[in-house]
Symmetry: C2
Subunit: 333 residues, 2 copies
């Protein structure tokens, strides 16, 4: 594969000149410009990005750590990031953290050692302190879906509490007084925030929170079906169930259908996230929109702005969820 040296010899100029035409950062006369470009074409020259990085101390890459690569959520996020980066000739190196502390740390170490110019992290298992340290010491970092006050500017997050509030309210506004809740794993920040918002709405509508109507799920479909089964078994009556994410809502709906409970006539259900699935299932799921793609885009933009000095960009840190009304809720009679 041709190197810059080959090009310089063929064009009859120095290495520096070739480098200049590549980087367009210094004046080169028309004549030499053409000579060099011709030589490049003739050799099919491709700059060696690795060598460029080493010499310039910039890799033009951003490292991305997600929990999982599959699933609708991360795909959208990656898609948003990629779209924004592509426009500026930066690219993505990805690693998966699998929501495990060691794997997440390993992934971060790995991305740093690849000399990424910045990192976008969607981490769940690692502690706040670890992240605060990271932000202080190393490469620029953006956190998605996590809010840590000490480094608020580095966080792109959703107001999960508001989301939980909106979800509960959507149901309460339809006259429901007995509402069950299937939560996410409580150790996850977003899960506890959503629940907090839920309780707030309850209070606002003068409905007292009943722990017996709460089930801690796993954010997976099975959590929803298990949850509904459990809640039903408890004999505490309820007319609506709000789920902390769409997967669990779907699981609950499946369980309901299998037990002749029709949605929304017998039971109202609302989800959270508005993953693509939500509009495919029947009845179409009313849910809270999580603009993850937009947030991914914003994370990328943060980096473009702060690391790559594209000053003209606007960055928004906290996003607001909103209600997507579809067909899985009905008014209580």
């Amino acid at each position: 594969m041709a190197t810059i040296y080959d090009v310089s010899v063929l064009a009859g100029v120095s290495l520096a000149t070739v480098s200049r035409v590549m980087n367009k950062n210094a004046k080169v006369s028309e004549k030499t410009l053409k000579k060099v470009q011709d030589a490049m074409d003739q050799l099919g020259y491709r700059p060696n990005a690795i060598a460029q990085s080493l010499a310039s101390n910039r890799s033009n890459s951003v490292g991305i750590l997600v929990s999982e690569l599959h699933g609708p959520f991360y795909g959208s996020m990656l898609s948003g990031i990629e779209a924004e980066l592509r426009g500026s000739q930066k690219h993505a190196i990805i690693a998966a953290g699998h929501s495990e502390e060691d794997t997440e740390k390993e992934g971060i170490e790995f991305l740093i050692s690849r000399r990424c110019d910045a990192l976008i992290l969607h981490v769940e298992a690692v502690s706040d302190e670890y992240l605060v340290d990271l932000v202080k010491n190393e490469v620029p970092i953006v956190l998605i879906n996590r809010f840590i006050p000490a480094i608020a500017d580095n966080c792109i997050s959703l107001d999960n509490e508001l989301g939980g509030y909106l979800a509960a309210k959507a149901v309460l506004a339809q006259g429901h007084k007995q509402v069950a809740y299937i939560s996410g794993p409580n150790w996850k920040m977003d899960a506890s925030d959503r629940l907090k918002g839920h309780k707030k709405a309850l209070k606002e509508f003068n409905v007292s929170y009943n722990p017996k109507l709460t089930y801690e799920g796993d954010y997976q479909e099975v959590g929803g079906s298990d949850g509904l089964r459990q809640l039903l078994k408890d004999k505490q009556p309820f007319t609506a169930v709000v789920c902390a994410n769409d997967e669990m809502a779907s699981g609950a709906m499946t369980y309901a259908r299998e037990h002749q409970i029709s949605i929304p006539q017998d039971l109202s259900i609302i989800g959270f996230d508005n993953i693509i699935l939500a509009q495919y299932i029947y009845p179409k799921l009313t849910t809270i929109d999580y603009p993850i793609k937009l947030m991914g885009q914003m994370a990328a933009r943060w980096i473009l702005k702060n690391t790559f000095k594209q000053a003209d960009l606007e960055v928004k840190n906290v996003f607001e969820p909103k209600l997507i009304a579809r067909d899985s809720i009905s008014a209580v009679s």
Copy 2:
């Protein structure tokens, strides 16, 4: 950030020795090993992967080009690839091709210039010749979901024709004689292969192929709903519709529901791909399984074997789809 030089000074040894303990590829005495490791720990040393790549001419990275980052399909594929690579300390650099020739080529160029040790490509718009050339000249390449005879060994593909055959057969075996077909974009190889298999099954069951019962969709949900509407409007009777992918099947199901056609009583539907969605919708979609995660894994394994010389791995090139029977097909009365 500490360099190998800092470590060597602190440990009181030469650069080469430090490099040797990093790479474990030459004997180092117990005593110096410890000195070096201590120095590394003390400095929090992290090897610079970029410099390593430049010096060793290996980047330990594999470039992955997919059409889109979102959607259930690519997520699974990436997940399979990542899982397999992680075990061998290789990592993924990703780019999206968006099914456009220029973007795909650009993405490939980009990955090559990053000096990926090998590439995994899921490309649709680029020509066979281009790919054959690529395989001849450049870095090792694996193609996913594409079969080109001239470079068969580099292809990890699904037997789409067999899949089309199985789908049609599933319906024909239930006694359906009038079966409609909603295909993918015909220029896509997989779409035409699936249709070929479909026709083969028809012939085997002595059902003549009726072009009027075929609609060319776009592999998206809207293609399914538009397709079913169109087919219905044509007044050619049919009792089953086989769709070239699950998204379209889902679209068709939604359209059917909105027009009081109940599935599978009034109309049998079968999809293709077995994306996660298929088990969430109602009724659960009978479909053809596309083991994309496994195929992603296999692509990664191909590279581990051929590029990174892990000789003990088994690679399988052609995968076989299989029927996943669920609830969207019923026997014709």
